[in-house]
Amino acid sequence: MTSNLSANDTPKVDPLKPADSSTATREGMTKCVLVEAINLALHHEMARDPTVVILGEDVATNGGVFRATLDLKQAFGSERVLDTPLAEGLIAGLSVGMATQGLKPVAEIQFMGFMFAALEQIICHAARMRNRTRGRLTCPLVVRMPFGGGIHAPEHHSESTEALLAHIPGLRVVIPSSATRAYGLLLAAIRDPDPVIFLEPKRIYRAQTQHICDDGQALPLDTCFTLREGEDITLVSWGALISECTQVVDQLSAQGIAVELIDVATVSPIDMNTILQSVAKTGRCVIAHEAPKTGGIGGEIAAQLAEYALLDLEAPVLRVGGYDTVMPYAKKEALYLPSAADIKAAIERVLAFG
């Protein structure tokens, strides 16, 4: 295996280590890992739009515990980059209040496991402010949260609860799977006139370096990205697991099996058109996500395939997910996380059907 991203092989980089400052430029491109791409997008958008304000725990002076907000305070001042007291409900409530008054708060919840105190504000207020004021007030905020397992973090630091958020009408839930998509999607999230939850797969924060042109070009939200084209089977995933999926696609390609790999990217609302078109071509589909299998977004995609693509399907749709249990502590998290082998096995089962 060439990647360091398998579930059994924790990334060699320390996610708590500051970013390598030697970000060499090459032909106007910046060399970035995913978390640096987020930082780049934040710098770009704060410079472009004076209403963008950053807030959260440790985001200003410290630049964020993962360094996603590095140097923003130095560049834009402590009035626009705010270290808040340690209270997630407060961070979300402040963001709602600020957003209703014409600012664009980009709040950080340090880890998704600590979002629950913020959910009342996100669900009961951010998601419905436009609707309940019939458009008079809006809530154009972004809540960034690192999520997912694989970095040997303490308890409560590794869950993937995107399905909880995706179930809430009025929220967009966006998950990048590479540095370039992190840059483009975060710009789009900040520019979106409605609340966006931006979930950052921290396992791949520093996994792969890409060259990014800091041109302020946003990528579309509500749109799947077809990363590989193939005719034999559709593989749907998002976030960190895209790395394992890519490995599987490569392995199967060597065996003459063409897998179409789709990165959902916006897990709510889901761009089903792209998935349906792919399945119309391949007739087979596997959905892989790190979150617990039952009640996950994979179930929603499978249900829509049953609803709209039954006659296209040549085999049952299979889901590969985490186990329906509490996220294990560091020693057993690799066991919990879907592996490339799990995904490959599911694909082989679906291909063998019929």
Binding site: L90, R130, T133
Partner: protein, 361 residues
């Protein structure tokens, strides 16, 4: 070093329950137009309240939380604020919302189950009525941050009940207002009851105002049924917020003379004698007596005011009851700035369902 702090909480009261003066009147009371506006708005608020309950009881409106007995607090908030200030209300603030330009019909629409009642076009920046307890307080802090960042001299006034002070949001908002020097006034409507739970079961603290001490901000108690004291405290707190960018917590002592809402029956848990005793302290009669004593009010004016307010309320009821229904698609159309294509089929389905219902299918 931050040392230990001794503290005491001041209680501000000018008028006793008979409307007699305890203290010399503050200077602003020479503005008799303002004094009369306080009274007139309290009377209007009470008539609106009675009408809202009547509409609910006759099946013409949904569940409604009465403000009976708390009129002075909300009226004084509305009158003390500048138009460009921002109100972040809880759900017993209709008098302040009306003073800030919301129509009475919109109030009925909101409690009648029509989202357009939260549109509040005339109070363009105010946040809508907040139902979840205490969540408005951190939002209010966010509004204050925004005003500060934008360099405005506007301030935020936000309100809650006594029950809300038991929630973390209350302390989080107060704490931040202190740390960040926010131009904000927090007003607790201490009506002594959170549905069926009396204040004694919310806290061992002798006052709610002293919770400001823990946040390092100014805290004061006022007699919430004494409009002179309430207006005085709120006016001063707003000026502090505007000029000094300093927050204040005001605990306004009042009493919920009504049930919690029209869905509640307070006689199940509240002693009738206690309720009766508190009727002796309610703000409207107290203020009317004061105005009489000052030679500012007479029976003829009272009769005219009652008639005028009744007419205003009745007109609003007619407007509320005759408003055209929103199209069914409104329940989807305001969710996002741009409708995601994924919602299109549901929107079409909704139109079909509405058409079918209109045909009587």
């Amino acid at each position: 070093m931050r040392g230990r702090q001794q503290f005491s909480i001041r209680l501000l009261q000018y008028l006793d329950p008979q409307g007699k003066l305890d203290l010399p009147l503050p200077e602003w009371t020479s503005n008799t137009i303002l004094l009369l506006a306080i009274y007139e708005n309290m009377v209007l608020a009470r008539l609106l309240d009675q009408k809202a309950i009547a509409l609910q009881r006759t099946g013409q409106m949904g569940t409604y939380p009465s403000i009976l007995g708390q009129e002075a607090i909300s009226v004084c908030i509305g009158l003390a604020m500048a138009k460009h200030d921002v109100l972040v209300p809880y759900y017993r603030d209709t008098p302040a919302q009306i003073i800030r330009g919301i129509s009475l019909a919109e109030i009925f629409m909101y409690w009648g189950g029509d989202e357009r009642g939260g549109n509040l076009n005339t109070a363009s920046r105010d946040l809508p009525t907040c139902v979840p307890i205490a969540t408005q307080l951190t939002q209010a802090a966010g509004v204050a941050v925004a005003l500060k960042i934008k360099g405005e001299d506007s301030v935020v006034v936000t309100t809650c009940g006594d029950g809300a002070t038991s929630k973390g949001d209350f302390m989080e908002a107060l704490n931040l207002a202190g740390v960040w020097d926010l131009p904000i006034v927090f007003v607790i409507n201490n009506n002594r009851w959170a549905i069926s739970v009396p204040l004694e079961q919310q806290t061992r603290a002798a006052t709610l105002a002293q919770k400001a001490i823990a946040a390092g901000i100014e805290g004061i108690q006022v007699d919430g049924n004494d409009p002179i004291a309430v207006y005085d405290a709120i006016h001063q707190a707003i000026e502090r917020a505007r000029k000094d960018k300093q927050p204040t917590l005001i605990e306004a002592l009042s009493y919920r003379l009504s049930d919690h809402t029209t869905a509640d029956d307070a006689s199940r848990y509240r002693d009738a004698d206690e309720l009766k005793a508190h009727w002796q302290e309610e703000p409207i009669l107290r203020f009317q007596q004061f105005l009489h004593q000052q030679g500012l009010w007479n029976a003829g004016q009272e009769k005219a005011l009652q008639q005028q307010c009744l007419q205003v309320v009745d007109t609003a009821v007619d407007e509320y009851l005759s408003v055209d229904a929103e199209p069914a698609t409104a329940i989807i159309d305001y969710l996002h700035a741009f409708l995601p294509y994924t919602l299109e089929p549901q929107r079409v389905g909704l139109q079909g369902k509405e058409a079918s219902a209109l045909r009587g299918d």
